[in-house]
Symmetry: C2
Subunit: 439 residues, 2 copies
C-alpha cells in the first residue's frame, strides 16, 4: 500500500538532530522556541495540522467549521531554518540505537522529544469504545456532528415514539470541562437552533443527560465553579446524574451501574484520557499510561529522550505530586521549559527544573455563561466569565486567520442565535465506524 | 442497514402536494417562490445542504472551507408553512401511479418537479472514472484537497525524481469555466502558497497542464475571453494543450490521443457533465441524458411531471435550440418561472412560456484576473472583471453568514497571499476511492 519510492530521509547537517513526535501544543512551543538555534529540528505528526482541542466540541455541535480550529503545521514554521516537518505516524522508539521507526523507514536522532499527547480512555469497556463518540480529533468532531444531525433527519422519518426519542436523546459521560461544555452546547442546540430546523419535532421529547462518576461536576476546578456549571446546565433542562458510572453501551442502550438503562443513539465519551504512548518505551519508564520524567523533562531510564505535555508524568514539581493536569497550559509551559534547557546545554549552563505556573481554568456552558477559577483562588461566573473565556480562547487560537474566522462565526451566532455549520458533509455509519462516501 | 422504524411519511393536507427532487439552485428557487401559496411543498435531497457549485474549486484548492459554500437546506426554509424537507435519496419515479420511490418507502405526489442537477460525464472511460477527480460535490472537493496536499507531503519523502514530479504535477481536463478556474487556482498555489510550505521542494519541477478537446478555452464565452484566460494561465506557467483528448488514465499515466503520455498522480476531470436523471423516466422523454421539457417545463409524455435546471432539456426557447447552458442562472430563472406558472394554475390563468435572460458569464483566473462577457456582447478582462466576479459570487452565496465568512477568507488571502485551509482532515486513498479513517 505504501509506494516503495517513499522513505524518511532528512539530510544530515552540522547540528545535532532533535526529533519531535507530535505537533500539539507541547511540540509546537518547543520547536518554535528553538528557532535559529544550532539544532536540526524534525517534527513528525500523522496529521499536517495542529488541532486546537479546547474548541473541538464547538465543531461537533455545529458552532465552528473544522478549518477554524486546525492550523497547518507547515505554515506555523514558515521561514524557519533547519526545520523539517514530515507527515508520518511514528510506530516505535528504538532508544538503544537512537532511532524512531515509521512505516516508511527509520530516522536517527540525537535527542528525542515525545509529545504525542493523549487518547481517550475507555477503561477497557470494549463495546463502549465501539459505539461511543470520543472527542479528541477533528474527525471525531465531524463524525459526531454528522451523526447528531443524521439522527434528527431520521427522527422526522418515524412515527415510532420510542425510536424517535432514542434518536433525539444524547448521553454525555464525564463531568469534566469537555463533558460540561459539550452538554452546554447541546442544550443550546436544543433550545435555540434545532426547533427552527425541525418544526415537526417536539423538542420536549429530547433529553440530554450528563453522567459523572463522582459527586460533583468540574472536579479539577473550585466547588463554586462545579456548582454554578450544574445550575447553568440544569437551566437548559439537562439531566445531571452524579455518582453514576456507565458500565456498557450496545449502540442502542446505555447501562448504568445502578441498573438504570437509557435508550439513546448518541453516547459522547468524555470520561477519561490516557497518555498516547508510542511503542518501545520500557515498562520501568511508564506509570498510569504516561511516560515518567524528571524535573528536566528527561524520561526515566531513557538517555537523550524527553517527554512533554499530556503524555509526560512529572512527579518532581511541588504541589503536583500526582503529575500535572493534562491541559494545554502545562504542555505549552513544558515545551518552552525544555527548549530553554536545550539552550542551557549549548552554553554549558545547568538546566532549570520545571515549575508549572497555574494560570487558572475555565469552562463555558452555552451562551453568556462560563465559570472561571483564578490561580490565586478567586472564582467568577456568568456573563463576565463567558467574555473572559471567549477572549482567552480567541487569542490562543493559532494564526490570525483562524481568530478572524472564529470571531466572525461567534459574533454571527451570538446576534442571530444561529449556528451556520449544520452540514452532514459525510454521513457517518456508527456500526461500521466510518464515514460513508456518497459517490 | 436501514432501521425498520424509518418511513417516508408526510401528513396529507388540504392542498395539492408538490414533490421536488433536488435542493440545488432550481429546486430552492422554485420552493421559495411557492412560499405561503396553497401547495404542500416537499423537498427531497440526499444531502441536508445546498452546494454552491461555482466555488467548489476554491475548496479543492484550499481557498475556502467547505462550510462556506454549503448552506443548510432547513435553514433556508425556516418559518415556511406547509413545507417539508426530507433527507433521502430518490431512487425511481413511478409516474403511472404518481409516486417517487426511496429506500424508506414511496411518496405520492400531485405534481413532481425533477431538479436533480447534473453529474460528471466520463464518456464511458471507466479507468478515468476510477482514478480521476470529479468536482461536482463538496466531498469531491475535500477529497481532491486532501489528495493534492498528501502528494506534496509525499514529494518531500522521496529522492526519486520521476516519482516526485508525478506527485507534484496536476492534469486538468476540460477548458470550460471549471477547468480554467481550477487551473488558475493551482497556478496560484504553485506560485504563492506552496513554496513557503515546502522549502525543500523545487517548484519549477511542478507542471500544471490544462487539456482541452477543441481549439480554444471557454468555448461558451467570447473568443476574447477565451484568449485572455489563456494568456493569464500561461503567465502562471500552465501548459495548455488544445485539440487534445484524454483517452485513458491508469492512476499513474495520462494517455492523450496524439500518443503523448503525462506521468501524473492527480487528474482533475472537468471535461463533461450530463443530466443526473433519476430512474423511471421513459426513453421517449430523454435526449442526450437530459429530460425533455416543453416551454412550460412540463416533461414530454409525463403528465404532472416537470423538470428544471441542468437535468432539463428545453428546445422551445428561441436562441437555444440545443437547450440552455447547464449553469446556475438558467436553474434559478426556471425555478421562478415554473413557480409563477403554478400560481397561474391556481388563478386559472394561462401559463407563460420560459424565456432565458442571459445575464452574462464569467470566469476567474487566479488573483486579480477574470474575464466577463456581458449579455449585450461586451467583454471585460483583468482586475475590474475580477472585482465583478467577486461581487457577483459573494452576493449569490446563500445566507449572510456564508457571505461574511467567505469575504473574511478572501480578504485574508488577498492581503497575505495565504490560503488558510491547507488541511488534510481525512487522508484520501485514490485506489480505494475513499477517505481513510485515522483510527
Amino acid at each position: 500500500m505504501i509506494p516503495e519510492y517513499l522513505s524518511l530521509q532528512i539530510p544530515d547537517g552540522p547540528h545535532p538532530r532533535v526529533v519531535i513526535v507530535g505537533g500539539g501544543f507541547a511540540g509546537i512551543e518547543f520547536a518554535k522556541a528553538l528557532k535559529n538555534k544550532p539544532f536540526q529540528v524534525v517534527l513528525l505528526d500523522r496529521n499536517n495540522y495542529h488541532t486546537f482541542q479546547p474548541l473541538l466540541y464547538q465543531v461537533a455541535t455545529a458552532g465552528l467549521e473544522p478549518d477554524s480550529i486546525a492550523g497547518p503545521l507547515r505554515k506555523a514554521f514558515d521561514g524557519y531554518k533547519n526545520f523539517f516537518f514530515r507527515m508520518v505516524k511514528v510506530q516505535r522508539v528504538d532508544y538503544q540505537n537512537q532511532l524512531v521507526k515509521t512505516p516508511i523507514g527509520s530516522l536517527r536522532y540525537d535527542y528525542l522529544v515525545l509529545a504525542s499527547g493523549s487518547a481517550t480512555n475507555f477503561f477497557g469497556l470494549d463495546q463502549v469504545k465501539r459505539y461511543a463518540f470520543p472527542l479528541k480529533q477533528v474527525v471525531h468532531a465531524l463524525n459526531l456532528r454528522s451523526h447528531i444531525l443524521q439522527n434528527f433527519e431520521k427522527a422526522v422519518l418515524t412515527d415510532n415514539d420510542e425510536a424517535r426519542t432514542a434518536l433525539m436523546n444524547v448521553v454525555v459521560v464525564g463531568g469534566g470541562p469537555t463533558g460540561v461544555e459539550v452538554a452546554g452546547a447541546l442544550g443550546e442546540l436544543q433550545k435555540h437552533i434545532l426547533p427552527g430546523d425541525f418544526p415537526d419535532l417536539d423538542f420536549s421529547d429530547m433529553q440530554v443527560y450528563l453522567i459523572e462518576g463522582t459527586d460533583r461536576l468540574l472536579n479539577t476546578m473550585s466547588p463554586k465553579s462545579g456548582q454554578k456549571s450544574k445550575q447553568y446546565l440544569e437551566k437548559f433542562g439537562i439531566q445531571i446524574l452524579l455518582n453514576q458510572l456507565v458500565v456498557d453501551y450496545d449502540g442502542d442502550s446505555v447501562y448504568l451501574d445502578n441498573g438504570e438503562v437509557l435508550d439513546c443513539q448518541t453516547l459522547i465519551w468524555a470520561a477519561g484520557v490516557q497518555g498516547n504512548v508510542v511503542e518501545g518505551i520500557p515498562a520501568e519508564s511508564l506509570k498510569h499510561n504516561r511516560i515518567q520524567v524528571d524535573a528536566y523533562h528527561q524520561v526515566i531510564d531513557m538517555p537523550r529522550v524527553f517527554a512533554l505535555g499530556d503524555v509526560a508524568l512529572m512527579n518532581a514539581d511541588e504541589g503536583y505530586p500526582q503529575g500535572h493536569p493534562m491541559v494545554a497550559q502545562v504542555a505549552i509551559q513544558q515545551g518552552r521549559s525544555l527548549a530553554k534547557n536545550f539552550v542551557c546545554l549549548l552554553r554549558n549552563k545547568p538546566p532549570k527544573p520545571f515549575k508549572y505556573r497555574d494560570k487558572g481554568s475555565m469552562a463555558t456552558v452555552g451562551r453568556n455563561r462560563a465559570v472561571v477559577d483564578f490561580p490565586q483562588g478567586g472564582q467568577m461566573s456568568g456573563l463576565w466569565a463567558w467574555l473572559v473565556w471567549m477572549f482567552i480562547h480567541l487569542i490562543s487560537l493559532i494564526g490570525f486567520r483562524n481568530k478572524l474566522v472564529t470571531l466572525t462565526n461567534w459574533m454571527w451566532s451570538y446576534f442571530t442565535y444561529d449556528k451556520g455549520n449544520r452540514l452532514i458533509i459525510r454521513t457517518f455509519d456508527k456500526k461500521k465506524r466510518s464515514p460513508v462516501e456518497v459517490n
